[in-house]
């Protein structure tokens, strides 16, 4: 779903991406070798930061990273993350996603990418969800036309700015790197 003119300006990380990237950062610093998935996630985050892309996680994931007992592991990434808060209709769209076979956790992540609110940037939604969950990505892309139809049916009934909401592109860290360095 990527093309050469696609330039994401905002990316939402799922739990797996954050977990793999932080593990990768720790292993690099300790001089240990990196499994490919950790290397890809860590490099993808480096690339996005280098490109000044706005980086987000859900409030629940941010809550984990902000806990004092987790600050050391979160330290490489935490200062670069921006908070997203739930905008109206986030729950409704997550319910629709679940009806289409998306798991509860994934449904909320994808819904934050449409209705997550960034007060400081005065914007909502993100261009991309960066995910290590290949099954989610395959399911999302396989059912994309149906999801888009339901999304359009829902948002077209809503007022501005909700009717301008969009669906994100789901990509894996490996795809992001392949695309950047092709």
């Amino acid at each position: 779903m990527l093309n050469m003119t696609f330039r994401p300006t905002s990316v939402l990380f799922d739990k797996g991406t954050v977990r793999e990237a932080l593990r990768g950062a720790v292993r690099v610093e300790m001089g240990l070798s990196l499994p490919p998935r950790q290397q890809s996630a860590y490099m993808a985050i480096q690339a996005l930061r280098a490109e000044d892309v706005r980086l987000y996680v859900t409030p629940q994931l941010l809550h984990i990273l902000h806990r004092p007992s987790n600050l050391p592991i979160a330290s490489p990434l935490l200062p670069d993350l921006h908070p997203l808060t739930a905008g109206r209709y986030l729950r409704r769209w997550a319910r629709r996603l679940r009806e289409e076979g998306v798991s509860r956790e994934d449904a909320f992540i994808v819904s934050y990418a449409s209705f997550g609110l960034d007060e400081r940037a005065e914007s909502f939604g993100t261009d991309v969800v960066l995910t290590t969950d290949v099954a989610l990505k395959v399911h999302y892309e396989t059912h994309f036309d149906r999801l888009m139809e339901r999304f359009h049916r829902m948002t077209s009934q809503l007022k501005v700015p909700y009717r301008d909401a969009g669906l994100p592109t789901l990509i894996t860290p490996e795809e992001l790197l392949d695309w950047l360095f092709a």
Binding site: Q39, P59, Q60, S69, P72, I73, P79, R88, S123, F124
Partner: protein
């Protein structure tokens, strides 16, 4: 991974009366530059350098990524120097964290997320009309 191999090929070419230079096949093959590739031309006294525009952008990105890597690792080192090694993640020391299997680590993050979902309820907010959808 994502590193280009450096292979140098040197040849002599002559600038023709029209100011044109033909690039031999060997030079094109070694440089991975093909007919139609957009090149950046950098001229200095006695020297002209041709660089694949996309290649230049990739090299620039790699350099910026290295800078980001340095910054992220410096933050981690600082956290470890401040006592983070003993209490690194979810009550585990750095050593115990590194000893977790992938399955154990996944399970730990899943447990933490479930706790966070109980502690951070989703409260929806109105989106002001002037906010833009990205």
């Amino acid at each position: 991974m994502y590193e280009a191999k450096e292979v140098n090929t040197m040849m002599t070419v002559t600038v023709d009366p029209m100011g044109k230079v033909g690039l031999p096949d060997d030079i094109l093959q070694t440089s991975h530059i093909q007919p139609g590739t957009e090149l950046v031309v950098i001229a200095e006294a006695g020297k002209i350098t041709l660089i694949d525009r996309q290649g230049l952008a990739k090299r620039d990105l790699r350099e910026r990524m290295q800078a980001v890597d340095g910054e992220m690792r410096a933050r981690l080192r600082h956290a470890l120097e401040e006592g983070g090694e003993e209490s690194f993640f979810a009550g585990l020391s750095l050593k115990k964290y590194l000893a977790l299997s992938e399955e154990e680590e996944k399970a730990l993050w899943t447990r933490l997320l479930k706790e966070a979902e109980r502690e951070v309820k989703i409260v929806e907010h109105d989106i002001p009309p002037h906010f833009r959808s990205v």
